[in-house]
Symmetry: C3
Subunit: 155 residues, 3 copies
């Protein structure tokens, strides 16, 4: 089966990483019926964060948006695993929850999380348009500047 999502990833030059194994007594995703709940993803690349800090202090909005895009890539890696390797089974990106570690004066959380939202639409088209929230946090795990969780509908 040809998947336009897979074609889109290829066109974007994105190779999905292996879905990271669970680090504790939680799992990367849980599937209930046709809904997949994916754990909050950090923008890890080969297990490492390339950027840490607070947006508005030591990280720019542009840098953070790229980190959010990496969170989205990691969400897709988990989703791909949930779909048994067939992203063509994804019917809808339902919801993203975005947390941005930021300065107390920073108010552009939406622009940061757009890095994740945009990738979903680039990969899935209209099925990638989702509900979301984007909020600030005074600090996040491992010093990441962004963490994104997601809920997806598959067939």
């Amino acid at each position: 089966m040809t998947s336009s999502a897979v074609d889109n990833l290829s066109r974007l030059g994105i190779t999905l990483p292996d879905a990271p194994a669970p680090a504790a007594n939680y799992v990367p995703y849980v599937t209930v019926g046709n809904m997949v709940f994916v754990s909050g993803q950090l923008p890890l690349v080969e297990g490492k964060l390339s950027v840490t800090g607070h947006v508005g202090n030591d990280v720019t909005t542009e840098q953070a948006a790229k980190q959010a895009r990496q969170c989205a890539i990691n969400l897709l890696a988990q989703l791909n695993s949930a779909c048994g390797g067939d992203l063509g089974r994804v019917k809808q990106v339902v919801k993203l929850g975005g947390f941005v570690a930021c300065a107390d004066s920073f108010t552009d959380q939406p622009e940061v999380i757009n890095g994740a939202s945009d990738l979903m639409v680039e990969v899935f088209g209209d099925a990638g348009r989702h509900a979301r929230f984007a909020v600030g946090s005074n600090n996040l795990p491992r010093g990441t500047c962004v963490e994104v969780e997601g809920t997806f509908l598959i067939d």
Copy 2:
């Protein structure tokens, strides 16, 4: 069909605003089966925030609770759109997620989010009683003091 929800809104003197159009690659709500996931809403009135700042510093709990009520009005506007203009289709307010931009010493997040919770019960009665969380944030989009997202069951 008469909707008591619509009657209640009228009695409360609330005219639902037009549901704001999406500002980025996300949408105001996604419907999956009979569940509606509504994006985090700011207390915008005609596209503007009347209050910005941190509760416990430059915003009082009472002011913030009124802002949370406006978030709830905006959630209802989106929900009304999801229901094709018939709020009588709402079966249950399932969950609200409330984020409060606050001073590091502020601990009355529940009292702020009650502004949203109370409106749901005023409009839907017992069907308006929901699960929720209410947490603090060091800053939120556009400088709003409150953001509320919601999950709803419709028929």
Copy 3:
């Protein structure tokens, strides 16, 4: 019907508290079909917090993890009520959302929320493994250092 979850709680020496009554116009949980959405729980014991403050300042990671475990006990008390007193009906812990009140430099939110995640697996075994997020907050209700919400699948 024998429930291994109940056996596990007994073996762990945990007596579930009465599920606290709602404090405002929200409810401790909402059931939609076979999904239970439980409100964010504080680590209350008999209505009181034994620890307040920010992890990384006046609370240690170990203390906070124990508080997260108490949040999980309170989630189970609510879930038990949702199941009509039969925890054997729980099919899957779907998702936990964990908020940690912390210093701006604190980055071990996952270690704190493990206190809740571990209990779920101790009680439900593999069915206790869940998706989750763990994030920081500059302050939480009543000064608690941790709040955890949960979504569960029951039969």
